[in-house]
Symmetry: C3
Subunit: 114 residues, 3 copies
């Protein structure tokens, strides 16, 4: 079992966000793949809100559901994640909220085949 220190990046966007003519979450995952980060996953939330929906003064559950939240998780070394963020910031058209956390990454070997 190998152990290394890494970083978990989470990017909070909406399903309707676009970049370069495609959904923003697809674009971010494709960029992470092209830059050979070790893994990335996008999840769709059931409902939610973010700083951008602060401007909705009347809270309407139905309205928020129109643009469902998407969360993207990327795991790699802190250095590679920081480089990726610097690149993303030069490319995206609108502001993004992201979080970073230290994680311990382990590669479990599994048992030998019989």
């Amino acid at each position: 079992m190998s152990v290394e220190q890494g970083c978990l990046l989470r990017v909070y966007i909406g399903e309707g966000d676009k970049q370069a003519g495609r959904p923003l979450h697809e674009w971010i995952i494709a960029q992470a793949h092209a830059r050979q980060l070790s893994g990335a996953t996008a999840y769709r939330g059931l409902m939610g809100f973010g700083p951008d929906t602060r401007v909705i003064h009347t809270f309407k559950i139905e309205r928020l559901a129109e643009n469902l939240p998407i969360t993207i998780e990327i795991v790699d070394s802190r250095e590679k994640v920081d480089e990726f963020l610097a690149f993303i910031e030069t490319q995206v058209r609108s502001g993004l909220v992201i979080t970073l956390q230290d994680v311990e990454i382990r590669h479990l070997q599994g048992r030998p085949e019989h």
Copy 2:
């Protein structure tokens, strides 16, 4: 790029849990919005179990699937999350399991429009 220290709160409930006549996850998200927390998202799990399903002595995957797990994530400062938890604890009828983690929050600006 602005950087701040924050807190990630995760609340583990079931899709069938209710509060004030509506699904508990909707109620929690609405409360987080009303109290102006910076963001909240609910996710539905494929399957799972929690401390409350400990009482099921025979593990039946089909049965657990009847009340799918919901996880709610809320990000804000530690102070605002603690206040929110204190409020939630006075309101909810049944016990809740939650986790807290420190996170670094960044607001990426994006590039200027051409």
Copy 3:
């Protein structure tokens, strides 16, 4: 409100992964339940890639979507999670990527019924 230090384990697999004739995520959740870990949830991602899909030299979004990512989250004490990982590593046939993070676990009581 009780507080304890715990550990969040995340296991990154694919929907098509199998173990003992069933989906790997079902098998892992069943093992976590049998070993009385305090909670486990499996989530399905919209899209993603991991170290194993590194071998795809041409990135095709459609192809990656055929085996959707599954993330399993398990929360318990560090000791119980480490024991669980050691067990899992002796059982699974293929390598697994996992992450570990320290979390604070709280059990909220809820208000007394009227």
